[in-house]
Symmetry: C2
Subunit: 542 residues, 2 copies
């Protein structure tokens, strides 16, 4: 049997655009004499459609769409994901389904059993789980059609009381098809292959796996759809981070080597570029504006943006205050020149002074402090947003994950933006990204990387005045955020008690700030945003 | 059997404080010779603990707490909610449990079967559902111990394939205990009684119902714990919006009349006051700062804040620009005087001009527009945040739900704040609240209510220049947001196609703004925030 894999980048709710893309791939598969073409989970709607699923109109349009696509299936089978209505009285209103289309008809449906509801996933919010196991019989083969999580209840991922493939395998399928929406994090490419091979080992069956590619706001899909034989050898592997298409003869294809796995920093860089590019193109924006401080975060953000959007579409602005050092300005200028970006320098001194003057009668001679520091960051925020409003450029936020974690940033100031590029990248990894960027030539001036980080909001300020050393900070944050270790466990691992308690307290009392930040491109297994849901008002570790 | 109901206001993760409150109520119940005292769902941790549940340390502390509380249960039974660990290999890591404590021991556990995962609820994210039904045998009675949602699979709420009380009732219980965390919306008091009586009718059993009271950031719990006999007559009913305690003899109490149900606007006002009061007291803040525009939203917000925090704790600031009308200033002053609030007037003209001057070379002689309007709103935002930072006051946001829905507000400007007071109240209801506030005397100057709403960001601006009439707008928004009706359904109900499409488009393309707004006190069945999860990048109705 010849199977085609269509790895596509969908837009949520763009029924017309998604349908057209799908039909094009059906035609392409037919032209290559495929018997079957497989698309991703909820391909028709895009993933994740979130609460649009609560609108009958939305789900109805998805269903209308497959009846239309079915008219293109003369002589070919199609497996494709969409939400379907569950009959009334049988639990939740919807099912997360794989439809099988063939010869002009919508032939049958297979529903998802395991509904992920952790981290960024909310599937149990919408869907009733399946409990009826069947195989698809097509051209003399029995196919186990499964949806994403249905293959994930293996090894250390075990968290469900049912393992769907244990049930389906009793029906003696010839191979497994898994349609997925499995978002990227820098561990995911390795884990995905492990899980595919764990299933192959358990059931002794070949696997066809089709994933989404592209960015849906914060969620980044890396693609890497693939087919493995019953030994776990790769027969076909599609690209990372790009739309791709491939056809494989399940019966005669020769095993090939796995694609080489991307390294952590390289894959973060590629994922972020795709995230920025897709955010703009899917919303219909072209140009970004970035405030360039002379520090490493805005430098790396500018490079990612220039790679994603083209240098002609990135406008950077230097906004020095009376506390900005000379090197900040010259370093930022050098970077803009290296990247070939249009830049302007807009000093905020006069604006700052007018705030100072206006507020003087009300500040009661209290000493310079946080309020004055934040006025500078917020004046910059207003200038950047004014330019954004005037020219229709999207402001990119430059905060990193370490800062976001401990609240080291000004709400309505440097925390502004339509999208946070580095909000899921710890400061230590931002440094590593800078080195990666400079591999071939010095794009980011060396001084930006080597000087001690500073917000430059008061004389001689350094990050290290307020924060622990970034290496220690990031290590503790990783334990708390990614590993969900509590204070006792982190201290047991050898970190100083005072340091751990200080850091955890900073994280917990700044939830209110993160509540109001832009969406963050997710590259780690636990990003701030939809995947991490914390109370704002709470006393635990506060 | 004498049963005590303890309706308490917990702080999430405040194990010491919650434990002490609980022990005090156990002692109080003992002193009144109760046989049993009942607390709410997840009382030990506070509700909702959200992703703190992913920390073993957090759950362990909950479990430690009940073993401590058990030492106070000599001669009395206690039913209380907490998260417990589910044995490994049996699905998700936790259960949402009711513990029965008695005579110094933790005697037994009853686990929640139906895990709400819609709107603001995320319980399936953490908990494995129960599938083993037992009764509590205590002092010769059989008690059906259930947790919140377990009694909600009745009537039109039917959405689960299991109805736990159908199973438990086979064991012939004498009465039902339901421990709840059932947040307020203005329909909830009526629906709650309907659901209690639907259960009583179905099973012919008395019901003991204990709810939370108090605010957990955006979620407001109205209390109203109660006991009904097997005819559905009220035997005991605790207060709305206040901590309360009561004891009832299940065998001999006389039926009483139901408490009168609060009206929609009155209950919204009470809920919002509790929400503001609790936000401040639980975070340890005393004082609020509010920007007073002379419009109705900031006026109603100031009244709610003054009622919640005391007039001495509300500082209001008038921030006129060159476009502010004289009446705006005088109306705002009059309101501040009526309420006895400290107020200052801080004109933003100089600040606005310094932005204008600084940006002039970069704005390329483009005409006055949105950018300039937003600079004014953002200059106000910076001034208010500067005062907030300087004096440790929390800025209250004054946006209403109609504005939030269509994005009629400036991000990082008037959308700023630690908490949104009216973000779940449509403009039409803000008017009704103003009338309610003025019932006895004119607190809000009549002109604030009667003049046409205006943002006053350009000469002669009116809301009606950009927005449909609020009555129509709110009606369509209600259909789309609260009722989840799609465009076709709303048009079928008789609204003009162009109007509906315009409004729905405005809602959908401004998700990015609502993503960055403060938490909103929830008073409706569908508030912006954790209960409404929409993609930011999407083409459906955009």
């Amino acid at each position: 049997m010849k199977v085609a894999l269509a790895q596509l980048n969908y837009i949520i709710g763009d029924f017309e655009g998604n349908r057209q893309k799908i039909i094009d791939s059906v035609k392409r598969a037919k032209s290559q004499h495929a018997d079957l073409v497989v698309f991703a989970e909820l391909a028709i709607s895009g993933y994740p459609p979130r609460d649009f699923l609560e609108f009958d109109d939305f789900v109805q349009r998805c269903n209308d769409s497959i009846y239309d696509i079915a008219t293109y299936t003369d002589g070919i089978g199609v497996i494709i994901g969409l939400p379907t209505f569950n009959p009334p009285g049988k639990g939740k209103k919807l099912r997360n389904s794989a439809a099988f289309l063939c010869n002009g008809e919508v032939e049958s449906f297979f529903h998802k059993t395991l509904l992920p509801n952790y981290d960024v996933f909310d599937e149990y919010r919408y869907f009733e789980p399946n409990n009826n196991f069947e195989v698809l019989e097509y051209k003399g083969k029995k196919i186990a059609v499964t949806v994403c999580e249905d293959m994930w209840n293996v090894d250390e991922h075990y968290q469900y009381v049912i393992t769907p493939l244990d049930e389906i395998s009793k029906l003696h399928p010839d191979f497994i098809v898994n349609i997925s929406a499995s978002p990227f994090n820098y561990y995911q490419p390795v884990i995905r292959k492990k899980v595919l091979r764990a299933n192959i080992q358990r059931y002794g069956l070949p696997m066809v796996y089709v994933n989404h590619v592209g960015a849906q706001t914060e969620l980044l899909f890396d693609g890497n759809s693939q087919v493995m034989n019953s030994n776990g050898d790769s027969l076909l592997e599609l690209k990372y981070f790009e739309e791709d298409f491939g056809v494989v003869d399940m019966d005669s294809a020769e095993p090939t080597k796995d694609h080489s796995l991307p390294g952590k920093i390289e894959s973060i860089a590629k994922a972020l570029e795709m995230g920025v590019q897709n955010y703009f193109s899917k919303l219909g924006f072209k140009k970004a504006i970035i405030g360039l401080s002379g520090g490493i975060d805005s430098a790396v953000t500018a490079v990612v943006a220039a790679n994603a959007l083209g240098k002609e579409n990135v406008y950077v602005v230097l906004l020095p205050s009376q506390f900005s050092s000379n090197h900040s300005v010259s370093d930022a200028e050098k970077l803009a020149q290296n990247l070939g970006l249009t830049y302007d320098t807009i000093p905020i001194k006069d604006i700052y002074q007018s705030f100072e003057q206006t507020l003087k009668p009300f500040f009661q001679d209290l000493p310079f402090g946080l309020a004055e520091e934040n006025i500078q960051a917020r004046a910059r925020g207003v200038v950047l947003m004014a330019l954004s409003n005037k020219f229709g450029h999207v402001l990119l936020n430059t905060s990193n994950k370490s800062e976001a974690a401990v609240g080291y940033g000004t709400l309505y100031g440097d925390m502004n933006g339509g999208l946070s590029v580095l909000g899921d990248v710890y400061k230590s990894d931002v440094f590593a990204m800078a080195e990666y960027i400079n591999q071939k030539e010095e794009i980011i001036p060396r001084n930006i990387i080597s000087k001690p980080p500073s917000a430059e909001l008061r004389p001689e300020q350094k990050d290290s005045d307020s924060l622990p050393d970034y290496e220690k900070l990031d290590a503790v944050l990783y334990q708390y955020i990614e590993e969900q270790q509590g204070p006792r466990e982190i201290i047991q691992e050898g970190y100083e008690k005072d340091l751990v308690e200080k850091i955890l307290r900073m994280v917990n009392v700044t939830e209110y700030k993160r509540h109001q930040t832009p969406p963050i491109l997710r590259v780690s297994p636990k990003a701030f945003g939809m995947g991490r849901r914390m109370p704002i008002v709470a006393k635990y570790l506060a």
